[in-house]
C-alpha cells in the first residue's frame, strides 16, 4: 500500500487529528483523493483545491491519472505558483 506523508503543510493536520503519516489503498491519484475525503472529511477537498502532490519525489500539480505503485511515497505539499 502506498504511504501518504503530510508534509506538515499546517492546515491539513487539523483534519487528520494530528496524524502526519498513514497508508491509503489507492492505485491512482484520483482514487487517493476519494479515499482521503472518505477517511478524513475535508482533506480530499483541500488536496484537490489548493495542494500539490509529490509522488516518489516528483511534483504532480493536479493529475488524476498519475499512477501510484504499492511502495510509493506520496507527500502532500502546498501548491506552488510563481511570479
Amino acid at each position: 500500500m502506498p504511504t501518504v506523508v503530510l508534509s506538515s503543510g499546517g492546515s491539513c493536520r487539523e483534519l487528520t487529528g494530528g496524524l502526519t503519516t498513514f497508508e491509503v489503498e489507492a492505485t491512482t491519484f484520483r482514487r487517493l483523493v476519494l479515499e482521503l475525503e472518505q477517511r478524513f472529511p475535508g482533506l480530499g477537498k483541500q488536496v484537490e483545491e489548493s495542494m500539490a502532490v509529490a509522488i516518489d519525489g516528483e511534483i504532480f500539480q493536479d493529475a488524476y491519472g498519475a499512477v501510484l505503485k504499492p511502495g510509493s511515497e506520496i507527500v502532500l505539499i502546498p501548491k506552488i505558483g510563481g511570479g
Binding site: 506538515s8 509529490a54 516528483e58 493536479d62 493529475a63 505558483g81 511570479g83
Partner: protein, 755 residues
C-alpha cells in the same frame, strides 16, 4: 518526441523576435494605448487611511458633476462567498479578491479602493472623486509584521482564526496560518554540531516595479457580452476572476491581451477590470481606466516584508547537520503571503539531515501582497545564504567549497517531501569554481561575495495551435502573454520540428475566445509548458503532412519520412518521388483532407527545478556607506537555452532587480501609516549608471521531461543577489549586515558602531 541529443538548426540560435519591429518603432499596442468611440474615463477613489471602518459613502454631489455618467461602490458588486482560488503565487480567497478591488465595510490599507467614477473627461472624473463624501471611523493600524503578530495589535479581520494550530484558537488574530516543514530531528542535529551560527534577518516590502501602470478598456454591451482590452500575465485569469466577481459567464467575456509592460508576478491578479466593467454596465459606454504611478505603489501588491530567525549547525569538516528557520511574512490586507514557497526554498539547495522550518502568514495594513518573481525565495535565501557565509568564515572553509560539500544532488530528499530529480546544482557549482571571476584576485579594498538560489519552476495548463497557411508559411498561436520574448522561442520550437527556417513561422498571442485555456505567464513556466504544447502541435502537423504525402504518392504512410521541411519516400523501394515541401502540400490541402491545423492542450508535468550561483565584487565608501557594484556574474542551470539572448536577459534583469532589493528599494511609511515614497523618485529602482555589465553564464543540464530539455529560467536569478551583495560588503568591511535594504545610512551607522 525528444530532440535533446539531435543537432538542432534553430533552437539555440539568436533570431530577431517576430514582434520586435512594433516595439522598436512605437507601434506596439499596450494596455493604455487603445481608445473606443464614446469612451469614458474611469477613476478610483482610494482610502487616505491605513485602517478605518466605512460609516457612509454619499455620491450624490459626485453624480451631479457635469460629464459624470456613472459612480460605483461595493454596492454595485455582488457579495462573494468565501472560496479558495489559486492566484498566481498562492491560494487566495475570492471574497478577499473582491474586497481588495472594492472595499466593503472597512478600508484595510492606504490606497484601498472604495468607489469609482466614469466621466467624459479625466478632469471631470477627478472633480467628481473629490466630491464623494465618505464618513470614516479611523482605527489604529499596524504594518510591521512583528508588531502585527504581537498581542494587543489592531486586528484586521474579526473572522480570522489562525489555521494550522491545534486546538483551533478562539480569539481572532492577524496570523492567518502557520506552516511547518520538518525532516529528521533538529535538536539532535544541533547537539552533534561543532559550530553553530545564528542570526535574525529582516527585509522590507519591495515592489515589482514594472514601468507600465495597470490599465484596461472595458465595454459592457446591452446583450451582456463584455470585451476587455488589457495587459496582464494571464488574460484567461482576467476573464475568470472578472466573471467570478461580477457573476457573469466566462463565455460572455472576451479578453484581448494587450502587450504587457512588465509584470514579474505583479500582474498575476487584477485590480481594475471588474470596476471598469461595472462602470461600463452602469453608463452604457466603454470605460478606460489607467492607474497613476502613485496608484500602482499605494494600491497594488508588492511582495512581503519579513523578519526571520535562522540557526545552522555543522561539523568541523563542513558537513551541515542541522538547520532551523522561523519565517514571519507580511500578507498585506488579506491572507496569502508566499510563506509556503518561502519555507520550502531556503534549504532546498542542500542535503541536510535535520531541518525544522516554521512559517507565519501575517496580515497587516498595507496592500495585499502579490507574487514577485520566485515569491518568498529571495527573502528566505537572504538569511540562509548570509548565514552559510558566516558559517564558512567560522569553519575556515571557502564559502563555495561549503556549498559544494553540502550540495543537493539527484535523489536528495528535501525537507518538504520532494526528492530532487534531473537537477544541475553540482554542475553550476563546478562551472562557478572554474570561472575567471571566482579565480581572479579581488582588487585591494574591495570585497567579493557569493550566494546560491533555487526555484521549483512549474508546468501547468497550456494550449497552442499550429496552422500551415495556404502558401506553406506557418502561423502558431498560444494562450501565453509574451513578456520577455516567448513568441520567439515558441516560433523556434515549431520551426525546428517542421524543419523550416524560423522566419517562416509567425507566433501570436491569442485572445480568450480564440484558443483553449492557458494558465497565466508566471512560475517560469511558458517555455516549458506552452513550449511543450506548441511542440506537440507541430509534431501533429508533421504526422498529418506525412499522411498527405503518402496519399499524394499513393504509398503507405510508413513509407514516408519527414526531413528538413520536406516529405521524402523512405528508401528507394518506396518509389522515386520528388520530395514535397510545405508549400506543395498546402497547395493540395483541399484534396488531402482540408486545412492543415493542430491544436494541443497539455497539463505539463515534470518542470525541472533551477539552480543559480551569483558572484559579486563591491567597493564600499566607508565614510558615506555608498556601495558600488564593481563586477557581477550570474551562473545558472537553464536546461537548454531555446533563445540564449532572452535567457541571458532574464538572468540579467533578475540580478538587477535583486541589486535594487539589496541596496535601495523599500516602502517608507509616515506616522499615519501612509506611504511616503509612492513614486520612482524616492522608491529607488537601479538606474543604468548604478550597475556594471551583468555576465550571464548559461549552464545546460537538459531537463528530460521537455522535448528540447528546457527548464524555467525567469525566477531563479532574483534569489541570490541580496546575500551575494551582503557577503561582498562583509568581506570588504567586516560588517555583518542583516537588514535590507543595505542603504548608505545603515552601512555608515554599522561602521561607526564597529569603530
Amino acid at each position: 518526441m525528444n530532440y535533446i541529443d539531435s543537432n538542432l538548426k534553430v533552437v539555440g540560435t539568436r533570431p530577431i523576435r517576430p514582434d520586435g519591429i512594433d516595439k522598436v518603432t512605437g507601434r506596439a499596442v499596450y494596455s493604455a494605448d487603445t481608445r473606443a468611440a464614446g469612451m469614458l474615463w474611469g477613476k478610483i477613489l482610494r482610502s487616505p487611511h491605513a485602517h478605518a471602518r466605512i460609516i457612509s459613502i454619499d455620491t450624490s454631489k459626485a453624480e451631479a458633476v457635469p460629464g459624470v455618467r456613472a459612480v460605483v461602490t461595493a454596492a454595485d458588486f455582488p457579495e462573494i462567498a468565501s472560496e479558495e482560488a489559486f492566484v498566481g503565487e498562492g491560494p487566495m480567497n475570492f471574497r478577499d479578491l473582491s474586497t481588495n478591488i472594492m472595499a466593503r465595510t472597512k478600508v484595510l490599507y492606504e490606497g484601498h479602493a472604495l468607489a469609482a467614477v466614469a466621466a467624459t473627461t479625466p478632469a471631470a472624473a477627478d472633480e467628481a472623486l473629490a466630491l464623494i463624501d465618505v464618513k470614516y471611523e479611523v482605527l489604529p493600524y499596524v504594518i510591521d509584521v512583528d508588531e502585527a503578530m504581537a498581542d494587543g495589535a489592531p486586528v484586521l479581520h474579526d473572522d480570522m482564526f489562525t489555521a494550522g494550530v491545534n486546538p483551533k484558537p478562539s480569539k481572532p488574530s492577524n496570523i492567518a496560518k502557520v506552516v511547518t516543514f520538518k525532516k529528521g530531528d533538529a535538536d539532535a542535529g544541533f547537539a552533534q554540531a561543532d559550530i553553530i551560527v545564528e542570526g535574525r534577518y529582516t527585509t522590507k516590502p519591495v515592489h515589482q516595479g514594472y514601468i507600465e501602470p495597470h490599465a484596461c478598456l472595458a465595454t459592457y454591451n446591452p446583450d451582456g457580452q463584455v470585451t476587455i482590452h488589457a495587459s496582464s500575465q494571464g488574460h484567461f485569469m482576467i476573464r475568470a476572476y472578472t466573471a467570478k466577481l461580477l457573476g457573469l459567464d466566462m463565455a460572455d467575456i472576451r479578453v484581448n491581451p494587450a502587450e504587457i509592460g512588465g509584470g514579474f508576478g505583479g500582474k498575476t491578479l487584477i485590480y481594475l477590470e471588474p470596476v471598469a466593467v461595472a462602470l461600463s454596465r452602469k453608463s452604457g459606454k466603454p470605460v478606460k481606466m489607467q492607474m497613476t504611478r502613485e496608484d500602482v505603489f499605494r494600491g497594488s501588491g508588492p511582495t512581503s516584508g519579513a523578519s526571520m530567525d535562522i540557526k545552522i549547525g555543522a561539523k568541523k569538516d563542513g558537513t551541515i547537520v542541522a538547520a532551523k528557520q522561523v519565517l514571519r511574512f507580511q500578507a498585506g490586507a488579506f491572507a496569502g503571503s508566499p510563506i509556503g514557497p518561502g519555507c520550502m526554498c531556503g534549504f532546498a539547495l542542500y542535503d541536510i539531515e535535520n531541518v525544522d522550518v516554521l512559517g507565519y502568514d501575517v496580515v497587516s495594513n498595507r496592500p495585499k501582497v502579490a507574487a514577485y518573481r520566485a515569491p518568498g525565495a529571495p527573502i528566505t535565501s537572504f538569511a540562509v545564504e548570509s548565514a552559510l557565509d558566516d558559517l564558512a568564515d567560522k569553519l575556515g572553509i571557502d564559502p563555495l567549497e561549503l556549498r559544494i560539500k553540502n550540495a543537493a544532488k539527484n535523489g536528495t530528499k528535501t525537507h518538504y517531501g520532494v526528492t530532487h530529480a534531473n537537477i544541475g546544482f553540482e554542475q553550476v557549482l563546478a562551472v562557478t569554481k572554474a570561472h575567471p571571476h571566482w579565480t581572479s584576485p579581488v582588487a585591494p579594498g574591495n570585497g567579493r561575495g557569493i550566494a546560491m538560489g533555487f526555484w521549483f519552476n512549474i508546468g501547468g495548463e497550456s494550449s497552442a495551435t499550429v496552422h500551415v497557411n495556404e502558401d506553406g508559411s506557418v502561423t502558431a498561436a498560444t494562450g501565453s502573454p509574451d513578456i520577455g520574448g516567448s513568441r520567439a522561442s515558441m516560433g523556434m520550437m515549431v520551426a525546428e520540428v517542421l524543419g523550416i527556417t524560423v522566419d517562416r513561422v509567425r507566433t501570436t498571442v491569442a485572445d480568450t475566445a480564440s484558443i483553449g485555456f492557458t494558465f497565466l505567464t508566471g512560475g517560469s513556466r511558458v517555455t516549458f509548458a506552452t513550449g511543450m504544447a506548441v511542440t506537440q502541435a507541430a509534431e501533429k502537423v508533421v504526422e498529418d503532412l506525412k499522411r498527405r504525402a503518402a496519399q499524394t504518392w499513393d504509398i503507405p504512410v510508413e513509407a514516408v519520412e519527414w526531413r528538413d521541411g520536406m516529405a521524402y519516400p523512405a528508401g528507394s523501394n518506396a518509389g522515386a518521388f520528388e520530395p514535397l515541401d510545405l508549400a506543395a502540400l498546402a497547395l493540395k490541402a483541399g484534396r488531402t483532407g482540408g486545412p492543415i491545423n493542430a491544436e494541443v492542450s497539455v497539463n505539463a508535468q515534470g518542470a525541472g527545478a533551477g539552480f543559480g550561483a551569483h558572484i559579486c565584487d563591491v567597493k564600499v565608501d566607508k565614510e558615506t556607506g555608498h556601495v558600488e557594484i564593481v563586477r557581477y556574474t550570474a551562473l545558472q542551470d537553464v536546461g537548454k537555452a531555446i533563445h540564449p539572448s532572452y535567457v541571458e536577459g532574464q538572468i540579467q534583469g533578475g540580478a538587477v532587480q535583486g541589486i535594487g532589493w539589496a541596496l535601495s528599494e523599500e516602502y517608507i511609511y509616515n506616522a499615519k501609516g501612509q506611504l511616503d515614497n509612492p513614486g520612482f523618485l524616492d522608491y529607488r529602482c537601479p538606474v543604468a549608471s548604478d550597475v556594471p555589465m551583468i555576465e550571464a553564464v548559461l549552464v545546460e543540464v537538459p531537463n528530460p521531461r521537455h522535448p528540447f530539455g528546457a527548464r524555467g529560467v525567469g525566477e531563479v536569478p532574483i534569489v541570490p543577489p541580496m546575500a551575494a551583495i551582503r557577503n561582498a560588503i562583509k568581506h570588504a568591511t567586516g560588517l555583518q549586515l542583516t537588514d535590507l535594504p543595505m542603504s548608505p545610512p545603515k552601512i555608515r551607522a554599522a561602521s561607526d558602531a564597529a569603530a
